[in-house]
């Protein structure tokens, strides 16, 4: 009997399969943050229940924390209360909390892998849709709502109908100027913004195998932008090398056992997927979104598309609305579109490799006059590492603001926002209307393109800079 990676991870977590009900899945790691947990803890307390497994629960603060002036009280009273509530809830229920100011604080999807808590074959959930990031390690990881957060706190399980399995095979080799971000934007363009609904995607093929763990995390992170429940990549030597020696990685004999187990977590030869798509990595180009959902992207060499070129009536109407919102005219070269702001960070592209790629571009250059440029490391450790490598010096010398870790302008909860009508080049994951602030216009790009765009003041590639 052949099995897919997804089946292998799913099967080993089924606690019970009551007739006529979804399966009960055990959850190996529950990540918690300040925004989607207060109502869950409240519900738990109202029902007189406890956190079943505080040892499998980790909390941090990321969504609405300030990224500047950490030595001062939090100015936003609502954010301050939410953060206080998380502290109180974690203290009362014995949940480990990496609070603001701790070296382990950061975006929840950056700190899990960094601590070695994200391991192959695990089930990982969080009240955040980008939990799919952790699938880069061959874990089954997905976002849940607050009622489900409460369910996991109380039972360490979730009721889940088994999704379908989709394979996205990326053959060949990415061109040197292309990154994991360009690849995943291309995949989402091919899939459509809802094309992955009901499915767990396994990313496979030569180009995926060649990605670093950071790149794999970028790809899996954006699975949800194609509507998929989760994304997964089978563990291999790259995964094992990344995990060795991390704080929560197994040691000694347990490491040997774990590695042997992880190596079995591959899709068997001949296993069939419910749906398969194939992407030619060699045809990927640096990608940039022009619209208001992540599937609406083109190559940097292209022009803003005509809505009439869209396939269906609905897609045409959506494109027309998007272009109106984005204040863009069809036929305009992408390179001629100028920006007001550049944001480098987020759970998609806020890891050390991303900051290195951006710093390489800005080294010895200046941010274009009138452009506001921010770098927000994904975690306090990423920030410290970047400072050790001197990356912060390149950014600040160029005119970037060098911030502390958090979600920041990815979703604009903490005051790092675009003003109405402003346009950004952003390394984040969503270009929805108003995502980075009411009336703001977001274009999703890779860290290298974001950095080059900050210098030029309009969309461009690093290779175009003089």
């Amino acid at each position: 009997m052949t099995a897919r990676l997804f089946d292998k991870v799913w099967d080993r977590h089924v606690v019970a399969s009551p007739a006529g009900e979804p399966a009960l899945l055990f959850i190996d790691l529950h990540l918690v943050h300040e925004v989607t947990s207060p109502q869950a803890f409240e519900g738990l307390e109202l029902a007189g229940r406890k956190v079943r497994r505080p040892d499998l629960t980790l909390a941090t603060m990321d969504h609405d924390v300030p990224t500047i002036g950490l030595d001062k009280p939090i100015a936003d009273p609502l954010a301050a209360e939410q953060i206080e509530r998380l502290k109180r809830n974690c203290a009362e229920h014995g949940v480990t909390l990496h609070a603001l100011g701790s070296i382990e604080q950061g975006i929840v999807h950056v700190i899990g892998p960094q601590l070695g808590l994200t391991q192959p074959g695990m089930t990982i959930v969080c009240g955040d849709s980008h939990t799919s990031t952790h699938g880069a390690f061959g874990a089954l990881a997905f976002g849940i709502g607050t009622s489900e957060v409460e369910h996991v706190l109380a039972t360490q399980t979730l009721r889940q109908v088994k999704p379908k399995a989709m394979a996205v095979t990326v053959d060949g080799e990415l061109p040197p100027e292309c990154t994991a971000k360009d690849l995943v934007l291309g995949i989402i363009r091919a899939l459509g913004v809802g094309g992955g609904a009901g499915s767990v995607i396994e990313y496979r093929g030569e180009a995926i195998r060649k990605l670093s763990m950071e790149g794999r995390m970028t790809v899996c992170n954006m699975s949800i932008e194609g509507g998929a429940r989760a994304g997964m990549i089978a563990p291999d030597d790259t995964t094992i090398a990344y995990l060795e020696g991390r704080k929560h990685s197994p040691r000694g004999q347990e490491w040997e056992r774990a590695v042997a187990d992880w190596q079995s977590l591959v899709t068997d030869e001949g296993a069939v997927f419910d749906q398969e798509i194939t992407i030619d990595a060699g045809a990927v180009r640096p990608a940039i979104t022009w619209g208001t959902n992540p599937a609406q992207s083109v190559s940097i060499d292209d022009v803003i598309p005509e809505p009439s070129a869209q396939g269906s009536v609905a897609a045409r109407q959506a494109a027309e609305r998007a272009l109106t919102y984005m204040n863009l005219k069809p036929g305009t070269a992408i390179r001629d579109v100028s920006v007001d702001a550049v944001f480098i960070g987020s759970c998609t592209n806020g890891r050390i490799e991303d900051l290195r790629a951006a710093a390489d571009v800005v080294r010895g250059r200046k941010v274009h006059a009138g452009v506001r440029a921010l770098v927000v490391p994904g975690s306090a450790r990423v920030k410290a590492q970047a400072e050790e490598e001197g990356l912060d010096q390149h950014f600040t010398a160029a005119g970037f603001e060098w911030r502390s870790a958090g979600c920041s302008m990815c979703l604009g909860m903490n005051g790092d926002i675009l003003m109405p009508g402003q346009r950004s080049a952003s390394t984040s994951n969503r270009n929805f209307e108003g995502r980075q602030g009411p009336g703001g216009r977001t274009h999703l790009v890779s860290p290298a393109v974001a950095a080059a765009t900050a210098v030029a003041g309009h969309f461009t590639l690093p290779g175009d800079l003089s």
Binding site: V15, A16, G20, L24, F26, D28, T36, P38, Q39, E42, R49, P54, L56, L58, D64, L78, A79, E81, Q82, R85, G94, T96, Q119, M122, G127, D128, T131, F142, G143, I144, G145, T146, S147, E148, E150, H151, A154, T155, Q156, T157, V161, G194, A197, I224, G227, H248, P250, R257, D261, N293, A314, Q317, A318, L411, G412, R430, F432, E433, G434, P438
Partner: protein
């Protein structure tokens, strides 16, 4: 949570595809620590447009929202469901739903009624022709009707239907499997990570 069997009232049509949760409830609203009071933030940006569906007469009395495919895509925020409910909606009818939104809706007692594209088109037309039409969502029969002329069936998994009809507490149901959970916990691989608390 009480069960929901039949919903009857005004309908509102937001005829767009891929309505994302950032539109349903913008992130600035997520700083609240309660489950209530999100209705004022529902479709906050779109409501600035006087032509928007929620700004039409009677919209504040609506019980059923009709929308396009992939409704609720984007973030996992259950606040999107709470905002729809706080405004007064008890069901959303659409050709498809994003996975997390659908789960959140069922968990909170908002009916996600999935209809075919053709059925959705007939309902949009009927509601446009007579915005005062009564829209009825019958959870037991899995039908939705707009006025006397249009009745369509919708998809809803058996388990989800049962949950909605009975208003069941998922956690209570799961805790009936306490023995199985404890047995599972006893045989997990020893290398799996744990926090010291």
């Amino acid at each position: 949570m009480s069960g929901v069997k039949r919903i009857a009232g005004r309908g509102v049509a937001v005829q767009r595809s891929d309505v994302d949760t950032d539109q349903i409830i913008p992130a600035a609203w997520l700083k609240k620590v309660e489950r209530t009071g999100f209705g004022a933030g529902l479709f906050e940006a779109w409501r600035a447009d006087p032509q928007f569906a929620l700004n039409q007469p009677g919209a504040d009395q609506a019980r059923v929202l009709l929308s396009g495919p992939n409704f609720g895509c984007g973030s996992s925020r259950e606040h999107a469901v709470w905002a729809l409910q706080d405004y007064g909606f008890q069901a959303v009818v659409a050709p498809s739903f994003a996975d997390i939104f659908r789960g959140n809706a069922i968990g909170s007692g908002l009916v996600p009624a999935q209809v075919s594209e053709e059925a959705a088109a007939r309902m949009f037309d009927a509601l446009a022709a007579d915005p005062d039409s009564e829209v009825v969502v019958d959870v037991a029969a899995r039908t939705v009707s707009v006025g006397p002329g249009v009745t369509e069936t919708f998809e809803l998994a058996d388990y989800a239907q049962w949950r909605l009809l009975e208003g069941l507490d998922d956690i209570g149901l799961t805790l009936q499997h306490e023995d199985a959970i404890a047995a599972y916990e006893g045989q997990r691989n020893r290398w799996l990570p744990a926090l010291s608390g």
